[in-house]
């Protein structure tokens, strides 16, 4: 079937089977490899993208479901050579080792901020709980997001 998708502001027309998962469209058809595949059953959060600004797991969405909605992937954060301030905070706090899970954390944290929330501590941990990390033990991820939110304190939501 024909599907029209809006990804990171760009329009794409694709001919896909309806069973095609959104994550596979992003990676295989559009070449956006920043969205990762982990469990393919909605547990790990590697495939997190923003759907109309809110994080969802793109392994649990069929491609045609995304038609007419705005999809945002991690590639949109730093289109050039300069890191997004949240990515810079992850660098400063060593918030990643292998980096496989990082897009999920970045997008979930940014969505919270866009919603007008800059949680910290336990609330932040609950907010980020939909993405798993097997390297860091989460301490530095939480520290990185808290650093970013601290730096942004007082600024209006993006």
């Amino acid at each position: 079937m024909n599907v029209r998708l809006t990804v990171n502001g760009g329009d794409h027309r694709l001919d896909v089977e309806p069973r095609r998962l959104l994550v596979d469209v992003l990676r295989h058809d559009l070449g956006l490899h920043g969205t990762h595949v982990g469990c393919e059953q909605g547990v790990c959060g590697m495939c997190t993208v923003l759907f109309d600004g809110e994080p969802v797991k793109s392994c649990l969405m069929l491609a045609p479901q995304a038609e007419g909605h705005e999809i945002t992937t991690v590639e949109s954060l730093a289109p050039g050579d300069e890191l997004h301030p949240l990515q810079e905070a992850f660098r400063q706090e060593h918030g990643l080792q292998c980096g496989y899970c990082t897009p999920g954390f970045l997008l979930t944290a940014l969505a919270a901020e866009r919603r007008g929330q800059r949680p910290e501590g336990e609330e932040l941990r609950a907010e980020l709980a939909g993405t798993l990390c097997r390297c860091t033990g989460y301490q530095m991820i939480v520290a990185a997001v808290e650093r970013y939110f601290r730096e942004r304190a007082g600024a209006p939501p993006p």
């Binding site: 079937m1 089977e17 309806p18 069973r19 998962l21 596979d24 393919e40 059953q41 909605g42 959060g45 997190t48 759907f51 809110e54 994080p55 969802v56 797991k57 392994c59 649990l60 969405m61 069929l62 045609p64 479901q65 979930t108 969505a111 919270a112 941990r125 609950a126 907010e127 980020l128 709980a129 939909g130």
Partner: protein
């Protein structure tokens, strides 16, 4: 880990959705939030002939207070409930329960109607629907009918819905002065509950409760009301009796999360905790 092929149908109205379900004679599945269905498709535990995507039906979501009830559309997402001022004010037990569901990503997609139709034996939404005596509006080929939550759940992942019926709305009675509490035993944040216990009741000014109700999930094939007390002071003897009644009504199964024996052991402990929490909230 990819779905088997299916026909993809996008109805524009509940009637069209029900007609489609009828056409496939039980071999079609409704896709609402997809947070339980799509994993089962990916693992090919389900291979339906058709997927009926109800996400484009207008007016199937939303939360509104109306005529002594809070009416919630079947397609309302968990996040809609989480951030709804109406739910926070009138159904605080539902607001509390929603925080236990999945994670941010899951709550952005999963729906109230989908959760009730899924009928996970440890699910928070079926538990709270039963605890708060919700009525479920169901549309079928012959028209609407209303199913009380107590008659909806038949067993693990089994409901009294016909294959060509769909949930359209859930109505919760708005009971002024009602206090509720929920406790869970869960192995990890966001995991399915080993057991979840909800309590609710209407306190008077003198330490007595009317319409007190303890409802349990995870310790039977479906959520159930373990005890109902029209009038109680919830003194230690009362609490112990409720714990015994709930234990007698429990029929837990063993699974990867806990043995039946352990679940049974937890029942009186969590009944005690939820009732202590209920009393504490009244005092607060």
């Amino acid at each position: 880990m990819k779905p088997a092929p299916f026909e993809y149908v996008v109805p524009r109205s509940p009637d069209e959705a029900v007609a489609t379900l009828g056409r496939y004679e039980g071999d079609a599945r409704i896709l609402a939030g997809g947070q339980s269905l799509v994993p089962m498709l990916n693992m090919r535990l389900l291979r339906p002939a058709a997927i009926v995507d109800v996400n484009r039906i207008e007016g199937l979501g939303g939360v509104r207070a109306e005529g002594g009830e809070v009416r919630i559309g079947a397609l309302a997402r968990y996040a809609d409930l989480e951030f709804s001022p109406v739910v926070a004010e009138r159904l605080p037990l539902l607001a509390e329960a929603v925080a236990y569901v999945g994670d941010r990503q899951v709550r952005n997609r999963g729906t109230l109607g989908g959760s009730l139709a899924q009928a996970d034996p440890s699910g928070e939404m079926p538990l709270v629907a039963l605890a708060l005596e919700a009525s479920v509006s169901v549309l079928g080929p012959g028209g609407d009918r209303v199913v009380p939550a107590g008659e909806l759940f038949l067993g693990p992942y089994q409901t009294s819905l016909e294959p060509d019926e769909m949930i359209t709305e859930v109505a919760f009675p708005d009971v002024p002065g009602r206090v509720g509490a929920l406790v869970e035993h869960v192995r990890r944040h966001g995991d399915f509950a080993v057991l979840a216990v909800a309590a609710s009741g209407v306190p008077d000014g003198e330490g007595s409760w009317s319409s007190a109700r303890v409802t349990l999930a995870g310790v039977g094939p479906h959520p159930f009301v373990g005890a109902e007390l029209s009038e109680t002071a919830l003194q230690p003897d009362d609490v112990e009796a409720v714990g015994r009644a709930c234990g007698a009504a429990a029929d837990p199964a063993s699974d990867v999360r806990a043995s039946a024996e352990y679940r049974r052991h937890l029942v009186p402990i969590y009944v005690d905790r939820v009732l202590a929490e209920l009393r504490r909230r009244r005092a607060a």
